[in-house]
Amino acid sequence: MTDHLGTTDATTESPPAPAPAAAAAVGVELRGVRRVFEDGGVVAVESIDLSIAPGAFAAILGPSGSGKSTLLRMIAGLDRPTSGTVAVSETARVAYVFQDAHLLPWRNVLRNVALPLELSGEAKSERRDRAMSAIEQVGLTDAITRYPAQLSGGMRMRVSLARALVTEPELLLLDEPFAALDEITRQHLDDQLRALWTQRRMTVLFVTHSIIEAAFLADRAIVLTRRPARVVIDHKLDLPAERTPALRTDAHFAREMRVLFDALQRGEQSP
C-alpha cells in the first residue's frame, strides 16, 4: 500500500504571508506509516500520521537514532513504508539535503550545483544560469570555480543547499543539515535558510535533534520518540514570522523551547 498519490492537503494552516515570486509548494500526507527493517526486524517508525500543508516550515525533532531520517527518506521516495501510505504529489520537485555536504570532489562549485539539472536533462545554457542564481542565493558567487576540497565546512554545506535549491523544489527535505558545523556558522545558515523560505515559500521539512534550531526555524515542530518513532507532540510555534537573531535570547522563545524540551524528554522515556 505504498503509493505516491496525487493527494495534496489544503485544509490545514495556510502559508502565513502572500508569497512573492514563490515557487509552487506541495503538501505531504502520511497515514499509518510504519517501517520495519528486514534485517533484525528493527521497527524504525511506528504508525505515524502527519499532514504537512503546502508552504509549511515544519521541524521534525527527535533523539539521535530515532527514525527521523527513515521518515524523511520515505517522504523523499527513497525508501518505502512497510505499511501505511506516504502521499506527495507525483510530479512534485523534491530536493534533499544530507547531514554532510556530499559534494562530488571532482566537480567545482558551479558544476556541483548544476548536477540536478544535468541529471534531469536541462539544456546546458539553462543549467548555468539557474546554477548561478542558486549560488547567488547562498552567497557563494565568488567561489564558483573552486573545488570542494578548497572550501570550509560551512561553505560546502551552502553549496549543498544551493544544489537543492537549483531545481526550485516544491518540497525541501533537510536531514540534520548543519549538525556538523560550529555554532556560529550554523546560526548563520539557519538565518539564511529561514530567509530563503520567506522568499520562496516552498514546503520545508527540517529534521534536527537541536531544540533551539527547531524553535528558531520552524512554524511547527513535530517531536518524535526514540526508536520506534511515534509523534509525541505536534506543536505550532507561537513566534513572530520574522526570526531575528535577537529572538534566540527572547523569553517567549525560551518558553517555546521549554515545551519542545519537555516533549523530547517524554519521548526519551517512552517505552
Binding site: 527518506r73 523523499a76 521516495g77 527513497l78 523534491v94 530536493a95 534533499y96 544530507f98 554532510d100 556530499h102 562530488l104 570532489p105 571532482w106 567545482n108 548536477l115 540536478p116 544535468e118 541529471l119 534531469s120 573545488y147 576540497a149 578548497q150 531545481t167
Partner: protein, 253 residues
C-alpha cells in the same frame, strides 16, 4: 628555494647508499676473470650491446599493450562484478582464484594456446597484471557514497548515468591504485613470457645466463625495472592530473 630543499631532503638521501654500494662493489670485484657479481663499470659497458635496446623496446611494447589490456578488461570486469550482488557472488571467487595461478606454470601452456611470439608475451603480461585492477576497481565501485546514490536516484538518473557520472569517477582513486600495481607487474609478466617463447629482455637475460655474461644480464634487468618505473610514473602522472582537485593538499592555492 623549496625545490632546492626538497632535492636535499628527498632525492639525495637514497642516492648516497646507492653510490656507496656501487663504489664498494667496483673496488671489491676483481678486474680479471669471472665473477658471479659483475663490476658496475662492466654493467655500464654492457648497455652498449647492440641487441639490448631493440629487445628492451620489444619488451616495452608487450608490457604496455598487456598493461592497457589489463586496464580496459579489468575495469570492464569490475563494472560487471559490481553491477549485481549475484554476479559478484558467482564470479568473484574465480577472479581471486585466477590470481593465484602461478604464471610460470601456465606460461608454457600459453605457447600451446596462443602460439609463439608477441601474443603470448602480451597475454602473460595481461594475466599477471589484471587482477589488482579488478580487485581495486571492484572495491572502489562498491564504496560509492550511498547518499550520492540516493541523490542521483532522486533526480531520476538511470544506472548508466550513475555509473558514468558517479560510480566510476568515485572509484577513480582505487582504480589508479590498482593500475599502479599493474604497471610493475605487466613488465614482470612480459619478461616471464619471453623466457618461454623468446624475444625481448627475457631472451637477453636467458642468453646472458648461458653465456655467463652476468654484466649483460644485469644491464637487461636494470632496463626491465626502468620500464616498470616508467609505466608506474605515467600512472602517477595521470593520477596527479585527474585527482588534483580532490585533496586540498595537492593544491597550493
Amino acid at each position: 628555494m623549496t625545490r632546492g630543499r626538497a632535492w636535499l631532503t628527498k632525492v639525495l638521501p637514497p642516492i648516497v647508499p646507492l653510490v656507496a654500494a656501487v663504489v664498494i662493489v667496483e673496488l671489491l670485484v676483481p678486474r680479471e676473470g669471472y665473477s658471479i657479481v659483475p663490476r658496475p663499470s662492466a654493467v655500464a659497458r654492457a648497455f652498449a650491446a647492440e641487441d639490448l635496446w631493440p629487445a628492451a623496446w620489444q619488451t616495452a611494447l608487450a608490457s604496455v599493450v598487456g598493461f592497457a589490456l589489463s586496464a580496459a578488461v579489468g575495469i570492464l570486469i569490475a563494472v560487471a562484478l559490481s553491477s549485481s550482488r549475484w554476479v559478484q557472488r558467482m564470479f568473484y571467487p574465480y577472479a581471486v582464484l585466477f590470481q593465484t595461478v602461478p604464471i610460470i606454470a601456465i606460461a608454457p601452456m600459453l605457447v600451446i594456446w596462443v602460439g609463439f611470439g608477441l601474443p603470448t608475451v602480451i597475454t602473460s603480461a595481461f594475466i599477471v597484471s589484471v587482477f589488482p585492477v579488478i580487485a581495486n576497481a571492484v572495491s572502489g565501485l562498491l564504496s560509492t557514497d550511498p547518499a550520492l546514490l540516493d541523490l542521483f536516484r532522486l533526480y531520476g538518473a538511470g544506472s548508466v548515468t550513475s555509473l558514468l557520472k558517479l560510480r566510476l569517477p568515485f572509484a577513480l582513486p582505487s582504480i589508479l591504485t590498482g593500475l599502479r600495481i599493474a604497471a610493475g607487474l605487466s613488465v614482470i609478466g612480459a619478461i616471464v613470457g619471453e623466457f618461454i617463447t623468446g624475444g625481448g629482455l627475457g631472451s637477453i637475460i636467458d642468453a646472458a645466463r648461458t653465456q655467463q655474461r652476468v654484466d649483460k644480464a644485469f644491464a637487461a634487468l636494470l632496463l626491465g625495472s626502468a620500464l616498470g618505473i616508467a609505466l608506474f610514473g605515467v600512472v602517477n602522472l595521470v593520477s596527479h592530473l585527474t585527482l588534483k582537485h580532490w585533496h586540498a593538499s595537492e593544491k597550493a592555492e
